[in-house]
Structures are given as C-alpha cells and as structure tokens.
Amino acid sequence: MMDAATQTAEQLRQQITATEEQLQKLKEQLASVETQNEAPGIETPLNDLSVQHPVTPGKWPLSSEEYKRYGRQMIVPNIGIQGQLRLKAASVLIVGAGGLGCPAAAYLAGAGVGTIGIVDGDEVETSNLHRQILHSTSKVGMKKVDSAISYLKSLNPNLKYNAHTSHLTPENSESIVSQYDLVLDCTDHPTSRYLISDICVLLQKPLVSASALRTDGQLIVLNSPSLPPGNEAGGPCYRCVFPKPPPAESVVSCGDGGILGPVVGVMGVLQALEAIKLIAGGKLKAEGSGEGKTDASMLLFSANSNPPFRSLRLRSRRPKCFACSAAAGLSLESLASGSLDYLLFCGVNAPVSILGPEERVEAREYETIRKEKGAGHLLVDTREKVQFDICNIEGSINVPISTLQGNRALAAEGELPSWLPETLPPDSPIYVVCRLGNDSQVVTRKLKESGLDKNGRYIGDIKGGLKAWKQQVDSSWPEY
C-alpha cells in the first residue's frame, strides 16, 4: 500500500515539475514576444507621426526589458548603469539552498546577477518550508537545487543558473568555486564553513558568510579584499577569526535548537545585500596592496534585543593563519588530495552510549510495563518545556535536561528532588525519555549518581526516545 502511495506521489511530483517547466517556457516565450512588441518601429497609431527608429543592435547595453526590470534599482545612486552592468557580468555561488540560501538567491536573481550557481545535495522536506522560501509543498522530495532554480527561473528568466546537486567536498570544491567571482556561505555546519573559507582563500574569492539559530543571526564578510595568502592587506578568513573549531557538543543545529523563518531570512537577505554592494561597487577584484591591514566586522542580529543590530570590530589577517598567511599550510594540492579531513578537524557528535543494556528498555517494552504498573512507576521526560508542551505521554512529568545541568533540579544529598511526586513509592521504577534517546541516557546516569536508585529502585531510559515510541507504540505521535 505504502509503495503504491509513494509511487503515485513520485508520479505527481514528476508531473508537477514537467508542468512547471512547460509553464516556464510559455512565460519565456511570452516575455520575448512582448519585448519584440515594445521595439520601436511597431509603434501604436498614436505615435504614427513620431520619427521611426530602426532597432540598432548594440546601441544600448541592456535590453528594453532589462531597463524596465532593473530600473528601480538602477536609479539608486550607488548602483547606476555601471553597477547594473557589473551585476550582469558577475557570477555568484550560493552554497546551501536552505534558510539563508533561498532568500539570498531570490534577491540576487531579482537584482540581475548574470550567473548564479547553487550547491546543495539535499532534498526538500516539509520541515524546511517555514523558512526556505523558494521551495513549496509540491516540491517536497525534489532536489533543493532544482526546486530553487525552477523558482528563480520564473522570477528572472534572463539569467544563467548552474545546478550543483551534490554537497561541496574538498575534492570538487576547486572545480566548482573557480567558476565564480564571489561565494555566499549559506551552510549549517562548521565543517562546510572551514572548507568554503579555505577554498575561497586559495582561489582568491571574497566570501559572505552568515548563520542563524533560534532568534539570533551573525553575518561576516571574509577574505575581502581577496588578496593572495601572505598579503596582510587582505581581509581575514574564517580561520583567522576562528582558528580552532568549536567542540562538536557545542554545535547546535536548527533541527535541535529551532529557528524562526524571518530571522534566518533577514540574514540571507543581508548576504544578498553585501554581495550586491561588493559587485556593484567594483570591489570583487582586489586591487593594490600595502594599504595596511583590513579589519573585518561582524554584524549580530538578535530579534529580542534593543537595538536588534550590533556591529562588532574583528581582527585583521592572523599572522600565522593556517590558510591565508605567508606561513599557510594549505594548498590546492593538499585540499584536492583529501589530506585535510574537515570532519576529523571539527569532530563528530557521536551518539551517546553511556548506559548498559540492563539500564535501557525498548519503547514497546515500556508500553507493557506502563500497562502493568500503572501509577506504580514514573516517566520523566527530559525535553525542554517548550517541546514537552507540544506533545507528551500521558502521566509523564517534565524535568528538562537544562535544569539538571544548572544543578537546579538535583536535590542535596539525602533529600529528594522537588519534582519527584511524594506519592511515588520509594521502590517504584523511574523511566527516562527524550526526543531521540541521547539526553535520556545522560539524565539516567545523573539520577543514579544522585542516589535516587537506592532502595533497589530501577532507573532506566527508553531506547531511541519518542522517535522509537512513535515507531513501536503510537503511530499518531506528532513528530515535529
């Protein structure tokens, strides 16, 4: 049954894509027919008396459609016709077609950047749609890059779009990045951030980097001016600012920490703005040197702060930077040979495995215990309150892991924690559950260490967390 449904969905997706492509072609045809109509010489009868000019190819640097399309931005003094022509001649690579890449790409396409490349190996998921504005419900399952480009083509068919449908790797990065003038880092992990910075330094491309989480965002323009490694007048790179990667356990993803659509949207839009400023201002190619050092700046955005924006002055190139200094240990050869292991460098957040098998139960086992014991057991849910409020298992109590880490929820020796129901018999078992089965292990260990298991009380966690609960026990469980 599932297979048939999946097949139907796949057929529908293909049909939608094909129809969208057809619509796209029709729109392009219409646009070209309309452009011809506007050409002088086919004027309306009202203008019959005016002098008729034949179309002179090459008389104007842009087509009449382009003058109309970009007019409102061309009359801004910072852009002008020169800025517009620079945008048209420019090529920008957007790495990541997610919450940052979508708005950035839309504004760059709207502004008329001549060539736009997008790199991403992922497919569109329903959980992307609240912020990744180029994708839509009918495109779930489609390659993000293809989905994004189909939107961009309907926004502006005059441009050249390059689809790079696998992730950026040390091996493919030179051949991809070398095709562009400027790079936008719209990715979501330190490994890709170091890789993108390194290849931009090696190929002398300015880099506009942004990131966002929850209600905060950060923006930084790196390697600008993009002078060769060793030239101290060049802008600092990602490694100058962050020579050592953060510990893997300190890296929080949008999937775990959450993200507001407009917050990441603001940051993506700002990336597009920085790109337009660099391109239209003629600052893509670094010229001259010996002008002293260039400090970078970081822009912080915080939705709940007043004022919401704050600009920080960062350092210039680091004299011993691994990537951009005269003493750099980085080269195109070392990158291409795969001798730089970015995953190893940044570390991997391995799944937690600190409990023995006797301290863990399967979700379906817990369901049986639950029926047998009734009120004679306790289920502790360690998710943050905001997640617990979305959905929880009946009768469970919420003790967020953060309150335990803050030492607020563990009682002093010999006392019972305040969250423990007084009515619970001292030998009743305690089961601990979380979203995926990692935090629940940490909390189980903490509860045991605090002495809650004396009196022979069993304390254990539910393997695989609420995800397993959905798979094994309650298929209606809302997965968010």
Binding site: G99, S211, A212, D216, P246, S250, V251, V252
Partner: protein, 107 residues
C-alpha cells in the same frame, strides 16, 4: 593590601551562551577594582570570576576549556575583538562592556 573599591561593568552573552548564565543576556556586575594580589583586574580575571561566581550551570567546559575561553567564542571589549585590545591582559575600566559571542552554525 587589596582595595575595597568596586567598579561597574556590563557583561553580555549571546549565541546561546546566555543559557549557561541563568538565561540572562545582560548582567550588570559590580566587581572589585583590584584582585587578591592588589593588581588591577583584567578580562582574564573576569572570565575566571564569571565561571566561579556567576555561572550556575555545571557545564563549565562550554565556556572555558583548558584554561582558555573555549574555541568558537569571541570576546569583545566595547564591541572590538579582544585580540585588538591585548586579550586576557586587558585591564578593565569602569563601565566597560564585555560581550561573549558564541558562533552560530545554523542556516
């Protein structure tokens, strides 16, 4: 002999670090102008003080690792990278704003 004089400073946390400090982004602190040896206090002293006196969370390693502010955290003195100001040796002045920024990675 140590001075009993205090100075007021503002310490801010962003990028998730506030979670280690009672979920408060902005802390108005009054700290002694001199350390136990009678020396004027520095940002290095402040980092230690925050760890011992202000942070309630048990995860100290999320803020300080191997005796240094952990990788991935920028320290800003009045909105300038502390590396431009002498890093941990910078002597705190009254009304200084010290900002700790944890880098974000999401996108």
């Amino acid at each position: 002999m140590a001075s009993t004089e205090d100075i007021s400073i503002i310490v801010e946390f962003t990028g998730g670090l506030e979670m280690l400090f009672s979920d408060e982004r902005k802390h108005k602190l009054s700290v002694p102008a001199k350390d136990s040896k009678g020396e004027a206090i520095t940002v290095g002293w402040l980092v230690e003080y925050l760890c011992e006196e202000v942070m309630k969370d048990t995860r100290k390693e999320m803020f300080v690792l191997d005796g240094h502010v952990r990788p991935g955290i920028l320290v800003l003195i009045n909105d300038a990278d502390w590396e431009l100001e002498g890093e941990a040796t910078y002597t705190l002045q009254p009304n200084d704003n010290i900002l700790f920024v944890s880098t974000l990675h999401g996108g």
